[in-house]
Amino acid sequence: MANPVKTGTNLLYALIAQARSYSDTIIMGRGDPDFDTPPHIVEAAKRAMVEHHADYTPPEGLLSLREAIAARVQRVNGFAVDPATEVVVTNGGQEALMLMILAALGPGDSIIVPEPNYNTYHDALKFARADKISIPSTAATNFRTDPDKVRAALTERTRALLLVSPNNPTASVIQRADLEALVALAQERDLVIIADDIYDLFIYDDYKHISPASLPGAKERTLTLNALSKSFSMTGWRLGWIVGPANLMARVRELKAAITGGTSIISQYAGIAALTGPQEPVQMMADAYKRRRKIVMDALDEMGIHYGVPQGGQFVFADISFTGMDSAELAEKILTDQHVLVYPGSAFDQERAQYIRMTFLQPEDKLREGLERMRVAMKKIMGER
């Protein structure tokens, strides 16, 4: 069996390492957009290297960047935050995620986690010595999180509710009625809402992204993360943020000071350029993802693979149970045979071993080639069984 001792994040990195050993690998696993960072942002970074290379870097980030973030949150997410006290800049969404978990939960506390979910949440909870209460979902319901199931799962130790929309890895978007019910439940049971909006600019068909904090009464109990990694193709810059009520954000700030102390000054100036400069590159990327999504769905349909229709995000979560294989085994086989990297669902949640996550973060020709190679691999696999 593939990677018998590796699970979760370590499993993903083992696969990434294997993928790098081939010269012709097509990456359809990792969430790293193929587009380079837009040139005007690189130019701003170069200016910052000359003019601001030694600027003071407070743990919470430059005020000018926090102001730009506050304006973006108002414009895109529909709620107001005070840049002086309600914004902390982070080393990407990943650090933001870690800080939110540590800010809201202590040892023995539990959090509601709609499953499957991004594997790093599990890692962060383990670090915080907190427990997760899983709320499973399936492709049959497009991975909907049912508020009634959440209510039934709450315990006396439940302190928080995780809402990732669009979800990673399922690409499902929480619909307004469900979100209102979940927020009302959080208010009723006095839960902190941990909201992950990182894919909020990539929404398909007629779906709408709604930030939990934008709903009445939610803002004062919600910590919301976002980052520029996905929206501006800035994964290597490590720039993200958390917004939330000033009292909780004071704790987030101290945690940020304790964990990394600050965020690279060059990335911060690049972030200001991204948030205040031309937004066309984001739309260009969103349009490209829309086309690629269709290419992937068409290919999966052709291969007879069921999946949750991506309502947002940059990936598809596909059901490979018909192969009778564990997803880690399947992912390794596809990688070894055809040099195509897809992520096994078991890396996100052991109960999701029948799924694989496929990103559409490659140019269309490469994506088509990857899908063709995958078709060959699947045919071979099914022929062997």
């Binding site: 003071y56 870097t57 870690m98 290597g236 490590r238 720039l239 964990i259 102390g261």
Partner: protein
């Protein structure tokens, strides 16, 4: 409606004195600010060019969690040449600055041992890192130069601590352990099978230096800023150098909390690695002159130290002096009535004001 859950979080936070320890700024807040950990330094144009070229050529994506390979190799080579321990690329993790180095080492190695020992006088970032998640702590008494004594180290090892955090040079005074003392610490660590996190970040500001890694590389986790003095203080880049077996858990945690360090900083540091051997001695010499003139003026008030970039003085009325001088408050390090000033060739130290307290 008030939230009991949030009230409970805030109450626990208010009681977390370690996490809430005030800390000096990483870089100066203004031209007169002498409190910062990292002094103002001009940046070599070649570093900017290398970083800009990397970004323009598409190095804007995730890179390896422990850092880009050439930078890891360059750090390994620099540390090997400077400190006499044989490091290779797999021993090195590039971090998003000194605080991440402190956090990763203390938390990830700390969770594998029963007790962790840290000096009573230490950089406040250490207390903050320890405040994120509870570990059992022993506090080490320090001598007049603010370094834990060998007797204290022996006693804490006898008492069960198996992870020590030591600064040499001290982040408050710049004092260093002698070669003989380092040898004795290595022997004690070996005798008790302990691991030592060794903060050697200020070592490039000393003329004579012995790293614990030279005596006990197999149980030393060395940490520091990457190429200090190169103008990268605000770019946030540091390192951890450790035996490979200890690298793995820290690398995993780094992946969880940051994925990687910003590429611009890594490529600038890579260029800095090529310039460092030529540039750093003259930088150090200039600061040494500036520091010595302040020492001459201040006399006995100065706590002896070997690092040219900082100066610690025993000063009365510290709170007023902190505000007036924009100095780092020794109380934050655990040493009330001590001030730490960052030495700079651009800004003369206000010795008269220090004496006036």
């Amino acid at each position: 409606m008030s939230s009991q859950t949030i009230a409970r979080i805030l109450d626990a936070h208010a009681q977390n004195t370690l996490l809430n320890t005030p800390a000096p700024p990483l870089t100066a807040r203004n031209a007169g600010d002498l409190s910062a950990d990292s002094l103002y330094a001009p940046i070599d144009e070649r570093m900017i060019e290398t970083a800009a070229t990397a970004l323009e050529s598409g190095q804007t994506h995730y890179v390896d969690v422990p850092g880009i390979a050439p930078l890891r190799a360059a750090l390994a080579e620099t540390l090997t040449q400077s400190h006499g321990a044989a490091y290779a690329q797999p021993n090195v993790i590039v971090t998003a600055g000194m605080q991440e180095s402190r956090f990763l080492t203390l938390q990830m190695i700390g969770e594998t041992v029963e007790r962790v020992a840290v000096p009573k006088v230490v950089h406040p970032g250490v207390r903050k890192a320890l405040g994120v998640r509870a570990l059992k702590l022993d506090m080490l008494d320090v001598d007049a130069q603010m370094l834990p004594t060998l007797d204290t180290i022996r006693a804490t090892l006898q008492g069960g601590s198996r992870l020590l955090f030591l600064e040499s040079p001290s982040r408050l005074t710049g004092a260093v352990y002698s070669a003989e003392a380092v040898g004795q610490i290595a022997a004690l660590a070996a005798e008790y099978d302990a691991v030592v996190i060794w903060d050697q970040g200020l070592a490039p500001w000393t003329d004579e230096y012995t790293s614990l890694a030279a005596h006990a590389a197999d149980r030393t986790v060395a940490i520091g800023e990457a190429f200090p003095g190169s103008g990268l203080g605000s770019w946030m880049i540091g390192y951890i150098a450790a035996p490979e077996a200890l690298v793995a858990p820290m690398q995993s945690q780094k992946q969880i909390m940051a994925i990687c360090t910003s590429t611009a900083a890594q490529y600038a540091a890579l260029e800095a690695s090529k310039l460092y051997a030529d540039a750093q001695p003259s930088r150090r010499a200039r600061l040494k002159v500036a520091r010595q003139s302040a020492v001459d003026a201040l006399g006995a008030a100065v706590i002896p130290g070997a690092a040219a970039n900082i100066l610690a003085v025993r000063a009365p009325h510290t709170q007023a002096a902190v505000a007036q001088l924009q100095a780092a408050d020794g109380a934050d390090f655990g040493a009330p009535d001590v001030l730490r000033l960052t030495v700079s060739v651009e800004t003369a130290l206000p010795t008269a004001a220090i004496m006036g307290g």
